[in-house]
Symmetry: C2
Subunit: 356 residues, 2 copies
């Protein structure tokens, strides 16, 4: 289980930086098979980046022992890359060598109010200019999803009295003495405020408060369920295209479904948004659900036109199989089929997923 | 050309962090095809880590356009991973989308004298505990290779009067104001000295001096050529096994070739050493060259017994083809063959390299 790996790393004074809402239940083999993302990809990369070696049971029943603990190895094709993110369609991952990183000793967390996605992308660039890779988390949330959270999920309170159109959860983390980033962080936020990149900031003054901010982000999935009717998209576009994507997709959805309630949040630093419009308030959930294919089509056409991906971190599975065939080039689908056929000619590994 | 990419990134205030001795002549397509390493892998990873999208001409003449600029994309198998490091045996890379990183604004460089590889591994851990990912370069060099450099390559001078058995080139880089890392760096070096992890340190007080230190490391390949007879190994082992590898390999070489001159240097933070013993002083180069297969065998048997790789960054090519077959498991060779056959059934792409 992911949380166990995190804990074992912590006991040894290290960090296993994969962090996501399901960490209390998801398995490492699944994280690797799906190349899981989460809230710290900005700094540490996806799961692919954290895997050093693999053991895989192959479709023919043989076991490939690739459990090497090497940071550099160019002795032939890097076969582990083929199994990472293949959703179990090429083999079953049974063991792994994982990369741990130094545990940051100085962490600063803030909840920010911002005007727009444009401002948030500029703010991210400003934070990276100040802190480089120390920017660990940068999550954008539309006001509506925070309102759903406060209305529908107990135990949360609004960090800010004034409402803002968008919020950002930002975290920076370094190796210096605890508190050593506090002053540079406050300075960076002050200059961002002066430059008009944000409207308000609440810096967490205790780890308890930082935890509450993070918990708000983690519980957004629950807030969505509470609305009783969202259609989910896990999309990515180049980071600079995030504002354009939101503007275009919001307008298209309003045209097609007057009264639709916008709802989006996600890992803006990775160009990855969970774009999950909520049914018009007067529509019963089943009426909205029946529109799923059409809503997906509207959103994903825009994503692909912007050079994006229809599944940034959740994968293809069965759900996106047909759509993926629609959007991928014939050449790429052929490459995927060649790989699948080469490793699993009898199509016995998770058939009907990813590629057919 | 790699240096051109570095320069273009610099003109835009960014850094393309791939950095290696051949950067004035090597091509990006080659860097990607060989998954090139270099002196900043410790912080930024190998070339694989810096590639976001690829265009590849396939063996059947079709072009795969995978030039996506996405940080996250789980829409099926990540086909670019297959071509990175495949040494041109699966297709020809004709274009790429590369990742740039923030340009560090505060850099500290030092030349250190250390007692042993053990001490250097501990010193690396201490530096990482202080500076985390800001440790950009950590290169270990045996005294002999520095002596070859000073004797054989003009334009270098010894940064230290006292001789030391091993030297380390360390560089840390961050985003703060220029000079802001100077004091923490001096403090960290002072505690390392107190803890007995090193014998002496010269911190570069100008960019010119830092450049001279780096140039010494870059010119080691030339120093080797000057000796007129080395047998090269580009090996990796888990970082913690570096001292054991050196002890065992040095002893085995002395037994087999009395008078052999040890010569090793490399990226200790990546577990990657260039282990290049030099002919005994009274042996003509051709006599030593004739021993190459035997020397390779001695060194590589030790590497593989320690869970290492016989080619950390230089790749298989034709030279290591037979050896790779000797050391890789049958299962892994079969996996590689399946992949090769699936993508290049007629074996027209760089035949006779990597796998047969």
């Amino acid at each position: 289980m992911l949380a166990e790996v995190q804990n074992i790393a912590a006991e040894h004074g290290r960090l296993f930086p994969l962090s996501l809402g399901a960490e209390g239940s998801c398995q490492i083999g699944g994280n690797i098979s799906t190349n899981a993302g989460g809230t710290q990809v900005l700094r540490y990369g996806t799961t692919r980046n954290l895997v050093v070696g693999l053991e895989v049971v192959l479709p023919d029943g043989r076991i490939w022992n690739g459990l090497r603990g090497l940071r550099k190895d160019n002795s032939g094709y890097d076969m582990k890359q083929v199994f990472i993110g293949a959703e179990g369609t090429l083999g079953i991952i049974t063991a792994a060598v994982l990369k741990l990183v130094p545990r940051p000793s100085s962490v600063e967390t803030a909840w920010l109010g911002v005007d727009s996605p444009e401002a948030s992308v500029k703010l991210l660039a400003a934070m990276k200019a100040h802190f480089g890779e120390q920017v660990t988390t940068f999550e954008l949330m539309r006001r509506s999803i925070i309102e759903f959270l406060l209305a529908g999920v107990p135990g949360h309170e609004n960090p800010m009295c004034e409402p803002h159109p968008w919020y950002v959860l930002v975290e920076i983390a370094g190796q210096g003495a605890s508190g050593s980033l506090a002053e540079p962080f406050a300075d960076a936020l002050a200059s961002a405020m002066e430059a008009g990149l944000m409207r308000d900031a609440v810096v967490a003054t205790s780890t308890a408060q930082a935890k509450r901010f993070r918990k708000m982000r983690e519980d957004l999935a629950e807030a969505q369920r509470w609305t009783g009717g969202t259609i989910a998209h896990d999309i990515s576009v180049p980071v600079s295209k995030i504002p354009e994507f939101l503007k275009t997709a919001d307008a298209a959805m309003e045209r097609a479904y007057p009264g639709i309630r916008h709802c989006s949040f996600g890992h803006v630093g990775d160009g990855n948004l969970h774009y999950n419009p909520v049914r018009p308030a007067d529509w019963p959930p089943e009426r909205y659900r029946a529109e799923r294919a059409n809503v997906n089509r509207i959103v994903h056409d825009i994503v692909v036109a912007l050079g994006g991906s229809i599944t940034a971190e959740h994968g293809i599975g069965r759900l996106r199989l047909g759509e993926n065939e629609r959007y991928k080039s014939a050449v790429e689908l052929d490459l995927m089929r060649s790989l699948k056929h080469a490793l699993d000619p009898l199509n016995i590994m998770n058939p009907g997923k990813v590629i057919r």
